[in-house]
């Protein structure tokens, strides 16, 4: 069998020279004790952040207009979630892609969300002991799609003024919409909506916060709080932690890509950033097999600093 020539980026001259004493267990023990001391010291000195989660109750009480506006957008199908597309719903023309490939659309709708039904109508269905809500729901459900659209359009046209100080202010020909939005706001302010959205599934138990988090994310209140804590996307938020704590600093490159063109201005930014990161990750994993990339260490010669004692003794 023909031997291939020696390749310094692949092959080595195995060591047959001197050995020195090495106590593996002692080294491991010292390392564990050292890390333990460092971790305990950092924990005592700095602790860890724990900002309370935002609830729909908190949001609707602190910013009722923003909440009601968001509720209206959910009911009218104009919210971000209602217009999201896969994996939440079918919306033509949505779904990020790289070139002609849209993986999210290939996977389809697997977590179905009907914003109007799941965020407004169904939760209000638990409040039918309130006559105004029961009447509004009955009116809504018996109305035609055209009638609903007219009510929503009229309410939407007056939205900036109609809900200036009260989400219940009725305007001309808005049907049950003010009652629905007002009822949902009142429900949220009592804390009942948090539970209703969490238990939209059929099970008694639930650890799935998909619906309340999607609803929360559609408003501006939550994003405003995050921006105040320097967590927004344009503040490198993905790698930050609340307060002055180090977050996921190892995501710096991922976060950095979102700050630069073409990623920062692309409508396919997420798909492009992830595609880039997958490619870079593959390059890291397969370095030993990639000519050029595997030669860099030999050419850069940083190894001479690492093994300086060895080379000095040669």
């Amino acid at each position: 069998m023909k031997r291939r020539p020696f390749n310094p980026d692949v092959d080595v001259v195995e060591w047959t020279g001197a050995q020195r004493p090495y106590d593996l267990l002692k080294e491991g023990t010292i390392a564990v004790v050292f890390v333990l001391i460092v971790v305990l010291t950092l924990s005592v000195l700095f602790g860890s952040p724990d900002d309370k989660p935002v609830t729909l109750k908190q949001w609707s009480n602190a910013a009722p207009i923003d909440f009601a506006t968001t509720a209206y957008q959910e009911l009218s199908g104009t919210s971000a979630v209602a217009q999201y597309g896969a994996p939440y719903n079918h919306v033509p023309g949505t779904g990020q892609s790289i070139g002609p490939v849209s993986l999210v659309n290939l996977m389809g709708v697997t977590i179905p969300i009907n914003a109007a039904q799941d965020f407004v109508i169904r939760p209000l269905g638990t409040q039918t002991s309130v006559p105004a809500i029961a009447t509004a729901l009955a009116t809504w459900q018996h109305a035609s799609a055209t009638q609903r659209s007219t009510w929503l359009t009229n309410y939407g046209n007056h939205l900036p003024t109609a809900i200036h100080n009260s989400v219940m202010v009725a305007t001309a020909n808005t049907g049950p919409v003010p009652s629905l939005i007002g009822g949902l706001t009142t429900m949220a302010q009592s804390g009942a909506l948090d539970n209703a959205l969490l238990s939209n599934s059929t099970s008694y138990y639930s650890t799935n916060y998909t619906e309340p988090l999607l609803f929360l994310g559609d408003g501006t209140y939550f994003a405003g709080l995050a921006a105040d804590k320097h967590l927004a996307g344009d503040q490198w938020g993905m790698m930050n932690e609340t307060g002055s704590f180090p977050g996921q600093a190892w995501l710096w490159l991922y976060t950095f890509l979102y700050q630069i063109k073409p990623y920062s201005t692309s409508s396919n930014a997420d798909a492009l950033v992830w595609g880039t990161m997958m490619l870079l990750s593959a390059l890291v994993v397969f370095v030993p097999f990639i000519p050029g990339l595997r030669s860099l260490p030999r050419r850069v010669k940083l190894y001479r600093l690492i093994w300086r004692q060895h080379y000095r003794s040669r």
């Binding site: 310094p8 001259v13 050995q19 602790g47 952040p49 724990d50 190894y303 003794s313």
Partner: protein, 209 residues
Amino acid sequence: MTDLQIERQWTTRLRKRVEGTFPPEKMLPDTQPSYVASWIYVFGVLTLAALVMVIATGCLLAIMGPTWWHVSGVGHFINSTHLWSVEVFFFAMVIHLWGKYFMAAWRGGRSMTWVTGAVTFLTSIGAAFTGYLSQTNFDGQWIATQAKDGINATGAGSVFNVLNLGQMLMWHIILLPLVALGLTVGHVLLVRKRGVVPPFADVSEKVSA
């Protein structure tokens, strides 16, 4: 039973293979090549030590459940040790990785040692990410709502729902740690099997592969 029958047993074959691949002097060495003399070597064992701390503090947190640390001073302190263990872990691992890159540590049939190490790094990022999602506080909420768009864009969001706390917690405390631990064990065994990569040879030392 004949000797031949014993030789052909799966157990016998496995034992002999393990004995041949990992003799005691390789698994628990008491000497090492003289070139292994640099601070960069410390970061491999520091990564392992930090991993021990990450697992230990995570197990302590698990005893009382995922929301205990919000209402207990002791729980909050253990959460702090978990956080800082993770920070030390990544700090040490990143330096270890860069060090090994500039040593071209894949040479001499050690490519799988590099590959298992790099995949462990990527798996650890996933494990840490699901941990941040499982905090059950504001940060966890915000990261979930922001991360969903990136994950969804890959198509993975259809089965890996970052807004589902129960799912993320399970990935964080079972699935990803199992993968990361398995890879770490494999990585360390490969290091023990192949040894630490020697320095680049002088020109006069070149031999055939």
